[in-house]
Symmetry: C2
Subunit: 197 residues, 2 copies
Amino acid sequence: MSEPRRGRVRSETARRAILEATRDQLAEHGYDKLSMDRVAAAAGVGKQTVYRWWPSKSAVVAECVLAGYVLADMRVVADTGDLRSDVRAWLMAFVDFVDRDPAAGGLVRALASAAAESDAVATHLYDRFTATAESHLAARLADAERRGQLRDGIPAVMVAEMLFGTVLYRFLVRQDITPEFVDRLCDAIFNGIAAPR
Amino acid sequence: MSEPRRGRVRSETARRAILEATRDQLAEHGYDKLSMDRVAAAAGVGKQTVYRWWPSKSAVVAECVLAGYVLADMRVVADTGDLRSDVRAWLMAFVDFVDRDPAAGGLVRALASAAAESDAVATHLYDRFTATAESHLAARLADAERRGQLRDGIPAVMVAEMLFGTVLYRFLVRQDITPEFVDRLCDAIFNGIAAPR
């Protein structure tokens, strides 16, 4: 009985070591220069152990983000009672993070690439982002709806998709996400683009 | 003098043959089963000729989309005089296309992946999409602005990014783009999500 359990413990330890090594290597070298060889060496495992769980560099980085080893603080949406300024602050924290960390763009692009190429990663990504949206952004949106700050019939998950999607697209096409961009995006999303009738 | 010119003609002919072969192979096998070997064979060139111009499968597919060999009709935005119904019709044409062609999801994901992994493809993608936005969507938006259908200070390119980004994100996370989704998205983008004050 104890063999499988010990095997499982060893697996979980190795898995965590790999994710921690990936986080450290990302911080030191950035995404483009990240190497699976160095990740395996730093984690003290064979390269085939890394490939057993993740088929590619982008897949292990995606897991690293999704498991909260990097970008973790982006999951929290503040609650000041004013939805618009909370969403703005959340996007601005993202701008700050990207300004501080030159590897951030590569991280976000790795996520997109991994999701594009693997159904399993995409499902995982969606579950995590949906979970994030459920627990933070959607909860915040539902609260705003109760306070009468959100129009009727606007699904919270769609607002999350509009925000994630627009920001992700800016990353993909290498356009800066500036405070001015955040202001314009918040204005368009909250007030709409149509002229008042 | 004639040698370089003949060389250039040969190059352009081979390039076009590769893109046409990619389009045909995509239609026959879909993106996931697309093989660079088969593309090269169908184009009548060596595999190294394909790799000389495109480093990966996703790169040649991205070029194929960008050069208008597939998805070309998505560039046209109708002009009925009513911006909201034109944008809705444009998104609905996309829904129809995806419903008709089971390879469409793979194509869009290939674009995203190629852009995520290569600065050159990303720049090309942005130039083409910006060009599309400039020539169709942005022109249509500018016209709507003149007719007083668009709120002041809404940059057309940002509207294009919100639309492209949200739709791309739905593809990445493998969520269906349904007529209901299109209606909700148009409503949110045109009317905004904030409750009227």
